[in-house]
């Protein structure tokens, strides 16, 4: 995929002027920090709107979106450059298949990401899902197991379908709060983020509305129910995360395959062998000897002509 041509980011011109300014601003800020490439990995369950989000960010219909069929079994990287700045977005297939995390898909993603650096992880889920379950945990766990806990320092939780009316007359803000709280809880659990890891609570939650029916403000920007234009907001949050001082995740062979378990402690084998000989085999031999000494012998074996004591 590295051979793929990096195209000019033309989609940016489709954004309303105010969005464009904000985006270019942010890109400039990144360049200022000597960041000229941003690689974004988009992951999540199937059908939550990963591809739509990618399309929205790029501003082009780069990835085929299908409402019912999962997007294709392979991850796709879209690279766009603008004013010397390169944006790579990697869209991945949904991780869930048949109620389980599909290891094979995960394996393909990992292999696809080999030797790349991930700057940002977008963990995508829906805002209008009311519940978190074990499956979410499994997905998060799979991501953590694959890329390490550190990836959550470069992660954003993206909630799609932001334009909704909360059920039972709940306040929108309260609903959003509850939903993000529940999700964050499961993220922390699945990613095994401990309480001491203060950065754990700083994973930002961003709302996204990819629908064409999305409300727009006077500048023709797509806005959320609370009035913020979400694309610049998302990019801003991404910029923040990119600049938060944590290290980007380099996906190398070691990270994908994990440390070779066959190598672990290998140099200690002679020592282990010696310990086993002296602390297991020898004591067992001793125990056998004491068994022999303690063995109850029949009286005829003990009583012998010489041994019989003559008493009157």
């Amino acid at each position: 995929m590295a051979s793929q041509l990096i195209r000019e980011w033309v989609g940016i011109q489709q954004f309303p002027a105010s969005t464009q300014t904000k985006l270019l601003d942010l890109l400039g800020k990144l360049k200022h920090e000597n960041v000229s490439t941003l690689t974004i990995l988009v992951m999540g369950k199937g059908g939550v709107g990963k591809s739509s989000t990618v399309n929205s960010i790029i501003g082009e219909r780069v990835v085929a979106v299908s409402a019912f069929q999962s997007e294709g079994p392979r991850p796709v990287m879209i690279s766009r450059s603008r004013a010397g700045f390169t944006l790579n977005i990697i869209d991945t297939p949904g991780l869930i298949e048949g109620g389980y995390v599909n290891d094979q898909t995960l394996e393909i993603i990992k292999r696809f990401l080999l030797d790349r650096t991930i700057d940002i992880l977008l963990y995508v889920d829906r805002l209008d899902a009311y519940r978190v379950d074990n499956l979410d945990k499994q997905v998060i766990k799979a991501i953590t197991d694959s890329f390490g806990k550190e990836i959550w320092r470069r992660a954003l939780v993206v909630l799609t379908h932001a334009q909704l009316s909360p059920p039972d007359g709940l306040e929108y803000d309260l609903f959003f709060y509850k939903r993000s709280e529940a999700l964050m809880k499961i993220v922390k659990l699945g990613a095994r983020i401990r309480k001491q890891d203060t950065w754990g609570s700083s994973v930002p939650v961003v709302l996204v509305e990819n629908s064409g029916r999305c409300n727009k403000n006077e500048d023709d920007e797509k806005i959320l129910p609370d009035g913020t234009a979400w694309i610049p907001n998302l990019v801003k949050k991404m910029t923040d995360v990119a600049l938060n001082g944590s290290k980007a995740i380099l996906v190398d062979k070691k990270l994908i395959e994990g440390p070779n378990p066959n190598r672990r402690w290998k140099e200690f084998i002679p020592l282990i062998f010696a310990l086993q000989y002296f602390f297991i085999i020898k004591p067992i031999q001793g125990a056998i000897k004491s068994d022999i000494a303690k063995e109850a012998r029949p009286s005829w074996e003990l009583r012998d002509v010489g041994a019989a004591s003559r008493k009157f």
Binding site: P261, N262, I272, P298, W300, E301, V305, A308
Partner: protein, 813 residues
Amino acid sequence: MPTFAASSHLLNPTLTHSLSSRRRFPSSSQNPKPLTSLKCHLSSSSSSSSPSDPPTSDCLSVKPLNPSPLLDSIPKSLASAAAAASFAILLRFSPIGGGGGGGGNGFGGGGGGGGGDGSGGGFWERLFSSPAAIADEQQNPEWDSHGLPANIVVQLNKLSGFKKYKLSEILFFDRRRWTTVGTEDSFFEMVSLRPGGIYTKAQLQKELETLATCGMFEKVDMEGKTKPDGTLSLTISFTESTWQSADKFRCINVGLMPQTKPIEMDPDMTDKEKLEYYRSQEKDYRRRIDRARPCMLPMSVHREILQMLRDQGKVSARLLQKIRDRVQKWYHDEGYACAQVVNFGNLNTKEVVCEVVEGDITQLVIQFQDKLGNVVEGNTQTPVIRRELPKQLRQSHVFNIEAGKQALRNINSLALFSNIEVNPRPDEKNEGGIIVEIKLKELEQKQAEVSTEWSIVPGRGGRPTLASLQPGGTVSFEHRNIKGLNRSILGSVTTSNFFNPQDDLAFKLEYVHPYLDGVTNPRNRTLRASCFNSRKLSPVFTGGPGVDEVPPIWVDRAGLKANITENFTRQSKFTYGLVMEEVTTRDESSHISPYGQRVLPSGGISADGPPTTLSGTGIDRLAFLQANITRDNTKYVNGAIVGQRNVFQLDQGLGIGSNFPFFNRHQLTCTGFIQLKQVEEGAGKPPPPVLVLHGHYGGCVGDLPSYDAFTLGGPYSVRGYNMGELGAARNILELAAELRIPVKNTHMYVFAEHGNDLGSSKLVKGNPTEVYRRMGHGSSYGLGAKFGLVRAEYAVDHNSGTGSLFLRFGERF
């Protein structure tokens, strides 16, 4: 004039065993033990030998009528010993004449009177004039009526010498007590006459003579009373012999002592000479006592007998009989089958001296016999047999039937002989000595066997079809006992289909070399070298619950193995050696598969599962050291196993082979069988309840191919799950507890088990636990009952909460 009646006592334990000479070689890599068929029959023969010298009035003979209590008890115990097949116990015993009696101190019948101051036989003799002797003449069932009026008393000498009288009843009349004693009296056993028997006058007279001379009675008479139906009622009236009361008891071992021949007493001796004679006799006897070796009789029995003496006051014939029985009972109970009381001396003093022949072994003879029972030169070297014998069976020890049984079992475990007899026989040259003969029939050294079988495989629709009939079978050969040192070579080839043997061919070639340190060295090390192959379904590639069929992986191993086993006890041993093997992993259709397969949700199969081998090619070659130390002190308490068993197994890779495998794979198993209640041991007694605690740790450091990963789940891991259903991991821990409660002659049990991968499933390359969606840990609990070899158990799988019923063979622990 004292003379000595020779009596003889026949008792000859012959230990015979039969062993099935056919061996089968199943395709499994383990060599089965030969089947041993057990039979037990008793042939008790009691032969009587008439005394070489007719007993005179100077000697006392005690004549136990029925020597068989010993004969009865021995075969029973031997049968339970399970070692051997047919037993005939025959112990011939040539009697010890007994020493010269002390003059005034000896006891003597003194012509039936004399109150003990008589000439002094000073000894007792055992005499066997067996009932069989007379029974021979009972073949003619006809008998004659007495031909006299009913209810008149007839003296014995008034009876007709030509008639055969039938005795309808026999009464004993104790003149001293003036009562009739019942048949339960100890004297009754001395009489060979039986009610209902038919006897001639001569026989009755002989019987009377025997009784009169046996020393038990001062006076004996016999008289008949006619009955209306023509039979006789016989009354034996007697006066028991008695001696001075005694307050000391001494038991001496006179085995192997030369018999002192009494000096003929001249009837013309003067009183002074007589006195001199008695004195010298007394002195002789003292010397004899002093020279005698100590005997084994324990203090407790001594005390018991002293008590008997004290309670009784006067020493009577009955009492001596009782003492004799008590002493002999102790010896026989302890297994000293050849021990017997031969004499009582020093009567009419304050001390009763009981002379015992314990049955010292003077010689041990090992004999080989051919099929016809002729003595031949055997192929087996005698040190091989000698090292199996307990030292109590060697020269100068006292023969014990238990030592004999032990020898029998040990020799049997060599599996070299079709028939083994351990046979004590009296030593003619040394009176009171025993020669232990070991008679062996060797098995054929070379053996070859072909067995065939047809297997009918269910074809389409479950019906057997002709095409699925496959001829299979085993070809095996064996060369045993090479050089007479129990070395052996055995080989076998098994296939389930002779037309296509390459499909499924199991072979094994093994060389066993025992007594590595020399046959006379007590260290028991055995070298085994073998060439083997095996084919097993890998439990690593098994699906978890709810996962459809995982395509199986077969693990074929073929290689060479050489190890040395050192046996510490029958159960505890240490084995160490080198294994070189080639492991090939194949899929269902026998194609080599380097990766496990899995079924995709779409129904397709992808071959990108966990790697099956270290090399990644599907074929691994490796060499490693293997050691196994087993400590096992379990024993059976009334059929329940109690004790401890610890096993440590270690496979140490040497870095030789594909990808230079270097690893340390270790397993420690500890099983304790804790007896929860003390019970009395003995046949037929109920077994105690037993708590079984079991722990198994397995771990591996270094290169771990998936076929060597530890799997969790299965009847020998965590019951209630399938083999490998819980996972395959680098380190595992299994814990189990089982409570066994005896019910009738079997037991019921409840159990709980847990297996855990300790989070090490991901440390196996490819993480097969996760790929096949297994939990990595699981518990189960349940209960079951044992029926013979079969266990029926209901186990609840704790992961899913469902229970199922299992039928299994053999033991879990």
